[in-house]
């Protein structure tokens, strides 16, 4: 451990440059680790949200926007669909578990979602405090909504148009909170109310839906029905699973570009590590010559040289852990809640171990060059020229 202490002392002498290299290296590793987690998180979110959803009916528009709006609840809907037309198609014998949605207003940044009891069954009751609504103008709020708006069971609130109050509100029509659901994303940011609440407030006599989600029993119907609906109606009918896969493909392509950039960052970090050590042994060759003159073996010299690189990489890995923890605790600030990376995706992965292992192995290997250059120097010259 003496070698480690001497290497540490040597690094303290050039703390600025060593820290900078550790930082660059850690940024590269953090980038890779975050990309991996974001990809895993996105896949998990989509899989959870699309589970049991084979058909999405909504107003015509962008399929991707529709997934984001009606499944992940992070985008605006492109319009409403007539309930009569939709219900006609929903009578198909292979269709099961229909969930009808009608977007209401907002409570601050949180969306009021009119839905039928099938949605509540889909979410379940295991984490519900209170009960699901039984009549119009009753609401169940997600845990994040409850926390942010300080609402609890029995409280009342009213919705407003859009994200800000001055767009107009429905102050004369209060919702009453009858339950709080501590569900996972994206439901924790939603205010659930019966469809009738939304229709009543907006005096919607046609009882329009914003979207309908359903599962389909028959694989062939799953494949054919969306196209048939598209052709025969003015509604958009898409297979969320297929659109989800398409979204993931695009995200993966974007992710690959990001991965190349983070790899380049790591490469720059590794080259800097190598150059820093080379510059250090060149500048301090007299010290290493003196180590030899004092009786050290070449193995001892190598230990001192290599530990310096290993310590920089260990610092980089520490920065990485700190960076990932910061990203974990601050993700709600830079990611929409529905896209927050689930806890399972934050767990240490094989890729993390591989990246840490590669970095440590490189730190050792990259010490060999500078060490060999020391072996070549004339001890006499190093001491005389110092």
């Amino acid at each position: 451990m003496k070698a480690l202490a001497f290497a540490f002392a040597s690094l303290r002498h050039r703390l600025g440059s060593a820290s900078m290299i550790a930082l660059v290296l850690s940024l590269g590793i953090i980038g890779m680790a975050l990309m991996d987690r974001a990809e895993k998180g996105m896949t998990m979110q989509l899989r959870n949200s699309l589970d049991g959803t084979d058909l999405l009916l909504c107003a015509k528009g962008s399929p991707t926007q529709s997934i984001l709006a009606h499944v992940l609840h992070v985008d605006v809907a492109s319009g409403n669909i007539p309930s009569e037309t939709a219900d006609q198609w929903l009578k198909h014998p292979d269709i099961r578990h229909v969930r009808r949605l009608a977007y209401g207003d907002q409570l601050g940044e949180f969306r009021i979602l009119g839905c039928d009891s099938a949605t509540w069954l889909h979410i379940g009751e295991s984490q519900l405090t209170g009960r699901w609504p039984s009549q119009s103008m009753e609401a169940v709020i997600g845990s994040t909504v409850a926390q942010a708006s300080s609402l609890s069971v029995g409280d009342v609130f009213h919705g407003s148009h859009g994200m800000v109050d001055d767009l107009g509100d429905h102050a004369h029509q209060d919702y009453r909170v009858v339950g709080i659901v501590d569900a996972s994303n994206p439901w924790d940011r939603i205010i659930f109310t019966p469809l009738s609440s939304v229709w009543d407030i907006h005096q919607d006599k046609d009882h329009a839906y914003t979207a309908v989600l359903a599962s389909i029993d028959n694989p062939m119907t799953r494949l054919m029905l969306p196209a048939r609906i598209q052709k025969a109606s003015k509604m958009m009918a898409i297979s969320p699973a297929m659109e989800g896969n398409r979204m993931m493909t695009w995200l993966n392509r974007g992710g690959q570009i990001m991965q190349i950039m983070t790899l380049l960052l790591q490469l720059i970090g590794f080259i800097s590590l190598l150059l820093l050590l080379h510059a250090h042994v060149r500048e301090h060759r007299s010290n290493y010559a003196l180590m030899r003159a004092m009786g050290s073996t070449w193995w001892q010299v190598f230990q001192v040289v290599a530990w310096q690189n290993v310590l920089i990489v260990l610092a980089a890995l520490s920065f990485t852990v700190i960076g990932l923890l910061m990203a974990y605790f601050s993700q709600s600030l830079w990611l929409p809640s529905a896209l927050n990376i689930p806890n399972q995706a934050w767990a240490p992965s094989t890729l993390d171990a591989v990246m840490a292992g590669v970095a440590l192995i490189f730190s050792g290997i990259s010490s060999v060059g500078p060490w060999l250059s020391l072996k070549k120097i004339s001890l006499h010259r190093a001491l005389v020229d110092a």
Partner: protein, 211 residues
């Protein structure tokens, strides 16, 4: 008295097709030999060749171990060379304290000897936890000497250690070397330009100017 170091006529390459040749040398236990000579006469080169820091073209160096002279290789097996070395300019490991530099010296040599008494005798106790680079030049040279003592070497080579010191510090350093010699009975070869130190020497060798 038995020789503790014996060097034949050493030829040291100093550039292309040029060699410096040095006279044969014998050092005896407890002896302080002062080597003088003009700048460029090869004092450092000879000392480095004797210490095994510099390759030689011909000749050999033998050092007594357990009373037996045995020939060293060039470069020698450092741990076995039996030579302590005080360089002209004291080098210290960056950011290490006085204690840290002494630990480093002992780790390099693999020795566990107690240097505390020498630290006290040479007046460095108060600065054990200071950065070695922050010491005065005189203190740095004394530290450099203590570091060489950690080798318990039978031969101590000192390459102009007093070159940058004032008279008082130079005298104090040589007295310390003498004191160490009395305890360890090592042979000391000291290169210097300082004629006033000659009075302290048992023997003086003057290197001729290079032709």
């Amino acid at each position: 008295m038995d020789n503790i170091l014996q060097a034949s006529e050493l030829a040291v390459p100093v550039g292309i097709n040029r060699q410096l040749t040095f006279p044969p040398l014998q050092l005896q236990a407890g002896e302080l030999v002062i080597m003088t000579g003009n700048s460029g006469s090869g004092k450092s080169t000879w000392m480095h060749a004797l210490a095994g820091l510099q390759g030689i073209a011909s000749g050999h160096v033998s050092i007594a171990k357990h009373g037996q002279l045995s020939r060293t290789h060039c470069p020698p097996d450092w741990r076995q060379s039996g030579i302590g070395f005080i360089p002209q300019r004291p080098f210290f490991w960056p950011s290490l304290t006085v204690k840290g530099n002494l630990d480093l010296a002992q780790w390099c040599k693999g020795s566990q000897g107690d240097l505390q008494s020498w630290v006290e005798r040479m007046g460095l106790t108060h600065c054990m936890h200071q950065q070695a680079h922050s010491l005065s030049l005189g203190e740095q040279q004394r530290l450099s000497a203590i570091r060489a003592f950690s080798h318990d070497a039978p031969v101590l080579l000192a390459d102009e250690p007093t070159a940058s010191l004032d008279r008082d510090n130079a005298t104090a350093l040589i007295e310390s070397l003498r004191a160490y010699q009395q305890v360890s009975q090592c042979a000391v070869l000291l290169a210097t330009h300082d004629a006033s130190l000659a009075a302290m020497a048992d023997r003086i060798i003057e290197l001729p100017s290079p032709s």
